[in-house]
């Protein structure tokens, strides 16, 4: 009996550390100085040999290491290394689902088609092992959005080192996510239609449903209702500009319809998400001053006759046309979000300047999500949310983090995965 208990205790003793989330780092109490690194500021600029200092979670100095000023607190010599602002991943359901195929672990898709009142933040699991696995790759911030339906719900923006969702929140209820109807629909192959796509006869009808809902929400906001309508009430931030509308659309026609329709219905702040065909109508998007969270690059061409590298170069086509562009991977599985940096690197392959590619997942994403007052770039006064990498963080072979900080807190780069790695290497090495 005793033996059994000891064994059990031992087993727990071994397993516990690997099963739990890394303990969140404590508040920054001492100044930190990073010296000698190549600093990629996230706004297109780079400082070859930099000096970066931060205190109380805020950047107090960002400049050249030749600068003759006092180095404060702990000094990290980062010569030959690279410093980046923490990467920002828009439009994900990280922390809302742990294992895709296990229904019990899935909290990302609520019943209903027009449910702006459903809020992601309250279901966000700050202790998710998938969330934790983002950090060693430099992804430190994400917009957490519900998925599915026409209006999926309301997102919030979180940082990835927290005891609970309340602590994680950077911006609560920042936006509403609308999946614009499609002009084409997939064939119902199980009904003998073939697997391809054909025109969606209900396209206009589906738009009308959205418009009717928005118009009703708007009218609702003009009165002081006796009975609360939670869905209409949840939409009000879109009309006063306190919340953004993220509209997911890929086709040329869909994008034009979405922007024209939403603008005509008093939506103040529109962000286009996806935008596969946005490159064909950049003038239109620019004229309407709509930022684009373009789809990630590690994607297939949608049409067989498309350029094989269209998904790779799509962000570049939009940037070259003068649009405000960020990068997201909302269509990918959550775990893939740790590859955000490499999606940006892929654009470098297509001839985009690396600093601009970086900007898409840092400064621009912050600006589009409306958190650029604190995050996204390495600038004095902003949050010290950044990391140090041995090499170019946009390239798989050199993305090697040594340190990462969120609001100046020195966070752990260990994960469930690194612990298993070490445990089993230990086994083989006889440790």
């Amino acid at each position: 009996m005793m033996k059994k208990i000891i064994f059990l205790l031992l087993a727990i003793g071994v397993y516990v550390p690997s099963m739990a989330q890394q303990t969140p780092a404590s508040k920054q109490t001492e100044a930190i100085t990073i010296e000698g690194a190549t600093a990629h500021l996230g706004n297109g600029e780079v400082i070859e040999s930099s000096l970066i200092m931060f205190e109380d979670g805020k950047l107090t100095f960002v400049g050249d290491s030749k600068m003759r000023i006092a180095r404060k607190g702990t000094i990290i010599n980062a010569e030959g290394k690279h410093v980046y602002p923490g990467f920002i991943a828009p439009g994900k359901s990280l922390g809302l689902v742990e294992v895709d195929a296990v229904r019990a672990s899935d909290d990302q898709d609520e019943i209903g088609d027009l449910i702006p009142h459903v809020r992601s933040l309250v279901a966000y699991n700050a202790e998710s092992k998938v969330v934790e696995s983002m950090r060693p790759n430099g992804v430190l911030i994400s917009q957490i959005a519900p998925v599915g339906g026409r209006i999926s719900g309301t997102s919030s923006i979180v940082q990835f080192d927290a005891w609970n969702w309340e602590d994680a929140a950077i911006k609560v209820d920042d936006g509403i996510h609308l999946h614009w109807p499609n002009t084409f629909r997939r064939g119902r192959w199980w009904m003998g239609e073939g697997r391809g796509s054909k025109p969606n006869e209900k396209y206009a009808e589906e738009i009308d449903e959205v418009v009717t809902f928005i118009k009703n929400s708007y009218a609702y906001g003009k009165s002081t209702p006796k009975e609360v309508n939670p869905a209409f009430a949840a939409m009000q931030g879109l009309f006063d500009g306190s919340q953004k509308l993220y509209v997911y659309a890929d086709g040329e026609k869909e994008i034009i319809d979405a922007i024209n329709t939403l603008k005509a219905n008093n939506i103040k702040d529109i962000v286009l998400v996806g935008g596969y065909h946005a490159y064909k109508i950049t003038d239109f998007i620019k004229k309407n001053n709509i930022p684009v969270l373009v789809q990630y690059t590690h994607n297939l061409p949608v049409f067989d006759d498309d350029d094989y590298d269209l998904p790779y170069k799509l962000p570049k086509l939009l940037v070259d046309a003068g649009l405000m562009v960020g990068l997201q991977n909302s269509d990918a599985e959550n775990f893939q979000t740790r590859n955000l940096a490499f999606y940006a690197g892929q654009i470098g392959q297509q001839g985009m300047d690396k600093e601009i590619a970086l900007q898409l997942i840092t400064g621009n994403n912050a600006k589009i999500l409306g958190i650029d007052d604190s995050y996204g770039t390495l600038e004095v006064g902003k949050s010290a949310t950044l990391f140090i990498s041995e090499g170019d963080a946009l390239d798989m072979r050199t993305n090697q983090l040594t340190h990462a900080f969120i609001d100046g807190r020195n966070i752990s780069l260990e994960t469930h995965q690194t612990e298993l790695w070490k445990r089993y290497m230990g086994k083989y090495d006889g440790k």
């Binding site: 294992v99 391809g196 025109p199 040329e252 297939l300 006759d305 775990f335 798989m396 072979r397 790695w421």
Partner: protein, 984 residues
């Protein structure tokens, strides 16, 4: 009067109904008509090539007596003068559903699959029904017969279009006046097969194309075994199959690729199938010709796509647009290449399309002689009925057409279709053609009348100046009756008159609006001029786009050829001990890497300056499902009998996209639905070759195994199949291998044994002749699988996915297993909870040969980057990381003696990269297989331009098609599925 009518009717009947001479007769007296009928002065097509001008056709008792220039007419001959008219043999359709009841799918689907057969005393698979006979459900269908007769058919061959083995057909003469006693020409006319399951039967197996092929192979070998008397149970299916083996064997392929697949089965069992084609044979005409099969070609061409909305037009691929453009040339291309074929109306939505499409095929180059052969002599020949059908030689059935002239001319009128000596009037040949433009003057007003449409069913249009008036017309028995109204229907004029031969005008009785009777004359101004002009427009052929290899966007006009190439001054990643060689030249000749060194020279070589660039071996993906038409045969929990080689899709865009990512070889694996999956195909991505051209010569033999959630069917609602647990998985393997061991022992003992393809394959594993790639996740199952292998004395060659391999790497190394894994996938299902990206590095550190693979249509395009991730996760060196997508997968696939590294003597499968091959910033500039350039950035650029240009040309053509009022189809995007392990 009544009496006369009755006797007329009687005469009619008695003349036409064949009486059977030994049948008693009680409704009258026996009276046989032994008279002859002669058709004189006609142009007679005795056969498509034997034509008699002004000849005579003599028939008697439903058969042709003679056809010739001067035929002696017996005294008891009824003579029909066909001056100016033509006679053709009636058409034959040998792929019909006529008169045979076709099964319909029952609604409703059961939640769990049905694995067992429903029948007893028949073959173990319900989709094998050679015992079915079309004659047993045959009923002469007057309505359908009329349609066929009107289209010119005299005989059709019908069967039950259901199941994989479908039993025998029935050949019918469309003789409505006869009985089944004479119109059934053959009640076992042919035996039929297809690749499609029965709609009536619910048995799950086969769920895939490769399963259907395997089932056919097993069926034939079981029949041989049964025929030798080895079975101690009764199998009515096999008995029927054996009984039917001397019949004509017809295979429904409906596609060029399936035609080749069917032919291969035929070759293996000494059967030459006649093949129902799909209309796309022209795309692979050389391979089609090489089957030596006769074909039955559906005369069905796609409508143009409605591309008037440019946004919607984006969804139509060049491939589909091109198919619309090229499909009408299919019959011509077959004929030009000497492929014998008959034509069928099979799959036509309406019989009225038949003539339209036939004329279209001729417009697109099919010769009239070949067209006629395809409708007469060839189908007769296919059925072995040349003596009876398809020609007007003596003794043949008197099945013939009387026309106004060339049957392949649009304006030609088909008057009569005689079947077995019985007349069917389609258009009265004595009916005068009244079509044309007339003018008529009534009560001081002049009206224009235009008569169009068919001769016997003309249409009328009456106009006062430009105002169209409501009008009606009927034309029957040489009387024309028409009416029209004016003043918004207030006034109605009615006219009727006999049409006479000697005047082109119409005249007769007129009833005026007030009821007054009078006379009218409509004066003919012209014939059918305007209509003819329109026809000419429609029948003009559009420009035909050239066929490419494959015939899709980015296909090549000519297949890439081997070149002598000299790469100068490259950074060469050898994937060998030599490591990375700076400033090095590589010479490629005759498809091989012939020399590696400095300052190489070779006369005649194309020199490629590779300064600043990197040359590597082509990437090899150990685990892929691109270029496949199916991935899982999930109808059984073991499917070793199926072959991925059977379902290679050489037109899959994934091939081109992978080439653009530097991939040259891959293992096309069966999916993970079953513990024992199917056999692999190992491919070189030779874009442009056919299926067999992609498969490695002397390919190493592989099979897919799978463990865990997929084989347990954990993630979808299926609870009826064994195994449902990892415990059950072990039992499946031990049971099958034990059986295979016993099978092999029996086989080796020389005793008679039932050949079992599945057991043969498992025995190959036991005998060390076939390797295993085993899909696996968690450590318990990995360990279990190795123990099963140890027990039966074989080795697991590769564990694929193997995401917990790092937990048992020591055991795997000891067993001698290799590993193919994802770089960083996890979190998608429960069994990947402990999947870590360090897996590859840990396994490699324990001496395991590790490859990074894709299992994904997107990831395969950038496996170089996935290899680079092993540097991030676990700190692999560049050289070792690179090996994970080149020489290591080559070793795992036992092709490392040919590919996987840059070494003199190896296949010249190389990639030129713009920079460091492991960097996200580099791209493949040239991808070369055996010295032929299959992808080249420059070529790709030209292809993009060419695609744009061709699309715009085709769009223009289709817009024109719409403008001329032709039928269109809505825009569609036909997508191929992107398979993964789990796709069902």
């Amino acid at each position: 009067m009544k009496k006369i009518l009755f006797s007329l009717c009687f005469l009619w009947c008695s003349a036409l109904v064949f009486s059977q001479d030994y049948f008693p007769k009680n409704d009258g007296v026996k009276a046989t008509n032994n008279n002859y009928t002669a058709f004189t002065n006609a142009k007679i097509f005795v056969t498509p090539t034997q034509v008699i001008q002004k000849g005579t056709l003599l028939i008697k008792n439903g058969k042709v007596v003679n056809a010739g220039k001067s035929v002696k007419l017996p005294e008891n001959t009824v003579v029909v003068d066909l001056e100016g008219k033509s006679i053709y043999p009636s058409f034959i359709d040998i792929y019909s559903k006529f008169g045979v009841e076709q099964p319909k799918r029952k609604p409703g689907r059961s939640r769990s699959a049905q694995y067992e057969a429903e029948r007893e005393g028949y073959y173990w698979n319900d989709h094998i029904m050679p015992e079915n006979t079309a004659i047993s459900s045959f009923k002469y269908d007057e309505k359908a017969a009329k349609e066929l007769i009107n289209a010119g058919f005299g005989a059709v061959n019908s069967h039950i279009h259901d199941g994989i083995a479908r039993g025998t057909g029935v050949l019918i003469a469309l003789n409505g006046q006869g009985t089944d006693a004479n119109r059934i020409l053959d009640d076992r006319s042919a035996q039929y097969f297809s690749l499609t399951k029965s709609v009536l039967k619910k048995q799950s197996y086969p769920t895939s194309l490769m399963g259907a092929l395997a089932l056919l192979r097993q069926m034939y070998s079981d029949a041989n075994w049964y025929e030798q008397g080895n079975a101690d149970t009764k199998d009515r299916s096999l008995e029927a199959l054996i009984k039917n083996k001397d019949l004509v064997q017809i295979f429904e392929a409906k596609d060029k690729g399936n035609a080749l697949r069917a032919d291969k089965i035929g070759d293996a069992y000494g059967i030459q199938y006649t093949i129902l084609g799909g209309g796309n044979e022209f795309e692979r005409i050389a391979e089609i010709k090489a089957t030596n099969a006769k074909y039955i070609i559906p005369l069905n061409f796609p409508d143009a796509y409605d591309v008037s909305d440019p946004y919607q037009a984006d969804y139509v691929s060049l491939k589909d647009m091109r198919f619309w453009n090229q499909a009408p040339t299919n019959p011509k291309v077959l004929a030009d290449n000497g492929v014998p074929f008959s034509l069928t109306a099979y799959d036509l939505k309406s019989m009225s399309k038949f003539k339209e499409n036939l004329l279209k095929a001729i417009t697109y180059g099919l010769s009239k002689t070949k067209a006629l052969e395809a409708l007469t002599t060839i189908p007769a020949q296919i059925l072995g009925k040349s003596d009876e059908l398809g020609s007007l030689t003596s003794g043949a059935h008197a099945n013939f057409l009387i026309t106004s002239g060339d049957i392949f001319d649009k304006s030609t009128i088909l008057y009569e279709n005689w079947v077995q000596g019985n007349k069917n009037v389609i258009n009265n040949k004595d009916t005068k053609d009244i079509r044309g433009d007339y003018s008529i003057a009534l009560e001081g007003n002049s009206y224009d009348i235009s008569i169009t449409g068919e001769i016997s069913k003309p249409k009328i249009e009456v106009k006062k100046d430009t105002l169209k008036l409501p009008s009606k017309l009927s034309y029957k028995n040489n009387w024309v009756t028409f009416s029209f109204s004016t003043d918004k229907g207030e006034k109605n004029y009615r006219m009727t008159g006999a049409v006479v031969a000697d005047s082109d005008n119409l005249s007769g009785r007129l009833i005026l609006p007030d009821g007054t009777e009078s006379f009218f004359t409509a004066t003919k101004k012209s014939g059918l001029a305007e209509t003819k002009k329109r026809e000419r427009n429609a029948s003009k052929a559009h420009e035909i786009m050239p066929v490419t290899y494959p015939n899709v966007g980015y296909g090549y006009k000519t297949k890439p050829k081997q070149e002598t190439l000299l790469f100068k001054n490259a950074t060469v990643w050898t994937s060998e001990d030599a490591g990375i060689l700076e400033n090095t030249d590589v010479l490629i000749k005759n498809g091989k890497i012939t020399k590696i060194g400095k300052d190489l020279k070779s006369a005649g070589a194309k020199v490629i300056d590779a300064t600043g660039k990197h040359l590597t071996a082509g990437i090899i993906d150990e685990h892929s499902h691109i270029a496949a038409l199916a991935v899982n045969e999930s109808g059984h929990n073991s499917s070793a009998e199926v072959k991925m080689e059977d379902v290679v899709d050489p037109e899959h865009m994934g091939i081109y996209h992978s080439l653009a990512g530097g991939v040259t070889s891959l293992q096309l694996l069966h999916g993970s639905a079953n513990p024992i999956g199917g056999r692999s195909a190992i491919l070189k991505l030779k874009w442009g070759e056919d299926s067999d051209g992609l498969i490695y010569d002397n390919s190493p033999k592989f099979i897919k195994f799978a463990l865990g959630e997929n084989v347990k069917q954990s993630n979808w609602g299926s609870y009826s199949r064994f195994p449902q647990t990892r415990m059950g998985v072990e039992q499946v393997f031990t049971n099958y291998f034990q059986r295979a061991k016993e099978y092999d022992a029996k086989k080796k003992s020389g005793e008679p044994y039932r050949y079992d393809e599945e057991m043969e394959v498992l025995a190959e594993i036991l005998n060390g002749e076939r390797f295993i790639s085993c899909h696996s996740y968690v450590q318990s199952e990995i360990n279990m699988m190795m123990k099963v292998a140890d027990k039966f004395g074989f080795r697991l060659n590769t564990f694929t996915h193997i995401l917990e391999g790092y937990k048992v790497a020591d055991k795997m190394a000891e067993h001698g297993a290799g590993a193919g894994t994802f770089s960083d996938w996890w979190a998608y299902k429960y069994e990947v909870n402990d999947a870590i990206p360090y897996n590859a590095a840990i396994m490699q550190s324990q001496g395991i040969t590790v490859a990074i693979n894709s299992d994904d249509r997107e990831m395969i395009r950038r496996l170089n980057q996935e290899a680079a991730k092993t540097m991030k996760y676990g700190g692999m060196s560049e050289l070792e990381a690179w090996k994970m997508v080149t020489i290591n997968p080559a070793k795992l696939l036992h092709i490392d003696n040919r590919v996987g590294s840059i070494k003199e003597g190896k296949d010249a499968d190389v990639v030129l990269w713009s920079g460091h091959p492991l960097s996200v910033y580099s791209k493949a500039e040239k991808t070369i297989i055996e010295g032929a350039v299959y992808f080249d950035l420059e070529k790709d650029k030209m292809q993009r331009e060419a695609i744009k240009k061709e699309r715009s040309q085709l769009v223009k053509m289709m817009l024109k098609e719409k403008d001329s009022g032709n039928k269109m189809q809505g825009p569609k995007q036909r997508t191929k599925r992107n398979f993964t392990c789990e796709s069902l």
